[in-house]
């Protein structure tokens, strides 16, 4: 395959890529000018719909369709919330976009707000991204001074303000309604849907919530057209499948020689990412398991590394989905129990506590896994973990948001794909007690 010419990352290696003059010298803000000088909001929505751009934040919902759900005749205000709370473990592509090319992000926001008739956008930036926060603020200030934000932008009658809103280190704020609650000054407890944010979102007004990378694609679609966008990626295979079109930022981390973020057409395989772009598995070792798209998505085995990482691929081998397309490699020396320990500790720490099955399930799973890791596991514990994994989440219908599904998938995949290793670990580390059912030993106390 010929090398892919980057689109989203085209600017980032330029000197001062984060500044307005450099962005404009590379053709920046031509798309918003084109939109303001001759397109209607509906034209823009139809264009993005036709491009089949799907959300890059994890769920893959078609962006144009989402925009079309906002009421057309609403007296306003309408809000846009930009999800820059990138917190899915192993994911850092939005950080790079915000730090290195904040104007590309802002241009996408402007076009999205024009299309949805939003007059204010709040970028919810996670606390851990101070450089992104400063660069975005500087970029907003540059735009205001240049007449690209504020009242009557470029004489078009379009008004827009973009505000930064800083998070406070809580993973749940990446869930769109948790984000809205947090923006409103409350604890970030996700809302029951419906009503969806498009009808009743921030401050009880119609709201569109988009991810940074999704919006960064928008100016390029306006500039280059639908045909160009749909020439990249994996076409739809049936009328129900919206396809996997466009460029995607893949993060590669863990046990590779060269952890990095690379832009490629949707549908590259994990093996190609690891070998060609990540410099191969480190220390001359082999991959044992690979996380396909952030911690929540579960695991690929070595044999599954050739599935395409498009929106449909990971699901075909039992993973939750493409997620954030953040690939994490674990080499052959990593015990699966260590992976489970790390994953379950994360979700227990980040469960917001609103839904009992998630709050209790993630916490119990984490403690059962800690007990196994400490050499006090029983084969029965695997049944307990299985039962937790099947009972928490949106899919079994027991929780309000998908955090618990993300907590369940590492368990499900580890239990189905590495069960032999887990049983062996329990038998080896607890030779006298592994078959015991009752009484169970005390659970490990969580200290965080």
């Amino acid at each position: 395959m010929a090398d892919f010419e980057p689109v989203l990352l085209a600017n980032i290696h330029k000197q001062d890529s984060h500044t307005l003059p450099v962005y404009q010298a590379g053709g920046g803000y031509q798309a918003i000018r084109k939109v303001l000088s001759g397109m209607s909001p509906n034209d823009v929505i139809e264009l993005i719909k036709a491009s089949s751009l799907r959300g890059r934040g994890g769920a893959g919902f078609p962006c144009g369709l989402k925009w079309s759900f906002l009421p057309k005749d609403h007296p306003g205000p309408i809000y846009m919330c930009v999800n820059a709370d990138e917190s899915e473990p192993a994911t850092f592509n939005n950080r790079i976009l915000m730090e290195q090319d904040p104007h590309q992000v802002l241009e996408g926001i402007m076009i999205g707000c024009f299309a949805t008739r939003a007059q204010a956008a709040y970028i919810y930036v996670r606390y851990e991204y101070p450089t992104a926060y400063r660069r975005l603020q500087a970029a907003i200030d540059e735009c205001r001074a240049a007449g690209l934000l504020g009242k009557n932008i470029q004489g078009s009658g379009f008004n827009l303000e973009i505000y930064l809103h800083r998070g406070a280190a809580a993973y749940i704020c990446g869930e769109e309604t948790g984000l809205i609650e947090s923006l409103e000054g409350k604890r970030a407890w996700p809302r029951i849907k419906p009503p969806f944010p498009a009808i009743e979102g921030a401050f009880r007004k119609p709201t569109v919530v988009n991810n940074i990378e999704t919006l960064s694609n928008v100016p390029h679609i306006v500039n280059r057209g639908v045909e160009w966008f749909k020439s990249i990626g994996v076409p739809s295979t049936n009328p129900k499948d919206p396809g996997s079109y466009g460029p995607k930022l893949y993060c590669i981390s863990g046990h590779v020689n060269n952890p990095c973020c690379v832009e490629l057409p949707l549908g590259v395989t994990a093996r190609e990412l690891i070998d060609r772009h990540g410099g191969g598995v480190w220390k001359g070792r082999k991959a044992k398991a690979v996380i396909p798209g952030g911690l929540s998505m579960g695991l690929l085995t070595e044999k599954e590394l050739d599935i395409p990482l498009d929106f449909a691929g990971p699901g075909k081998v039992g993973c939750l989905g493409l997620g954030t397309a953040a690939v994490t490699v674990m080499d052959e020396t990593v015990p699966i129990i260590d992976y489970l320990y790390n994953a379950s500790r994360f979700f227990a720490h980040e469960s917001c506590g609103q839904c009992t099955p998630c709050r209790e399930g993630t916490s119990w799973a984490s403690r059962v896994i800690a007990r196994i890791k400490a050499g006090q596991g029983r084969l029965k514990d695997l049944e307990i973990l299985q039962s937790i994994s099947q009972s928490i989440g949106i899919m079994p219908g027991t929780t309000i948001c998908g955090l618990a599904d993300g907590a369940a998938w590492p368990l499900k995949n580890a239990l189905s794909k590495f069960r032999g290793e887990l049983e062996e670990y329990i038998k080896t580390t607890n030779p006298t007690g592994y078959s015991q059912d009752e009484p169970a030993l005390a659970l490990v106390e969580l200290t965080h």
Partner: protein, 168 residues
């Protein structure tokens, strides 16, 4: 003898910074997080005494402010060190030795994760995925990023953190 009223926790300067956020949002309550960040940046914590004062500014009940404040474990009631350092313990950093670095650094600083050095300079904490996986294992210390750390560097990292605190 009349008792002197306690000094307010929220100083006029903090108050002005908080009020500057009011026009950005349709509700006062939405200024809760920005205000907590402003107080935290000035005091390196959000003392309990700030809660009723902030509630009054935002036209909320103190319970509403406290409810939000307590949800985000980020805000502490006692001052953190001049430098607050988070060593990432999530999967990509953990796979490359992040947890061992955290332990070694804690040893060099003489604190457990979550604690502040006795000289008040450094608070050491674990972080969940800092989004620095391309530099794993990584640490965020105030706004400085420490990349590709190793256990062998623990003593040097401890010194650097103290120097960063002195420079503040």
């Amino acid at each position: 003898m009349a008792t002197t009223a306690a000094q307010p926790v929220i100083t006029p300067q903090m108050r002005a910074e908080i009020e500057a956020f009011f026009p950005r949002y349709p509700t006062r309550q939405a200024v809760t997080l920005p205000a907590l960040h402003i107080i935290n940046e000035h005091l390196r914590c959000v003392p309990e005494g700030a809660i009723p004062e902030l509630a009054q500014m935002l036209e909320l009940s103190p319970a509403q402010v406290y409810d939000t404040l307590s949800f985000y474990q980020f805000f502490k009631s006692k001052p953190c060190g001049k430098v607050r350092a988070w060593v990432c313990r999530s999967i990509s950093c953990s796979l490359r030795g992040g947890e061992e670095v955290l332990e070694a650094l804690a040893g060099k600083l003489g604190v457990a994760p979550g604690e502040t050095t006795s000289d008040g300079k450094v608070t050491l904490e674990f972080g969940e995925c800092l989004g620095l996986c391309d530099f794993a294992p990584a640490m965020l210390a105030n706004e400085a990023v420490y990349k590709n750390m190793t256990v062998d560097q623990a003593a040097a990292l401890a010194t650097q953190l103290k120097q960063q605190a002195d420079a503040r």
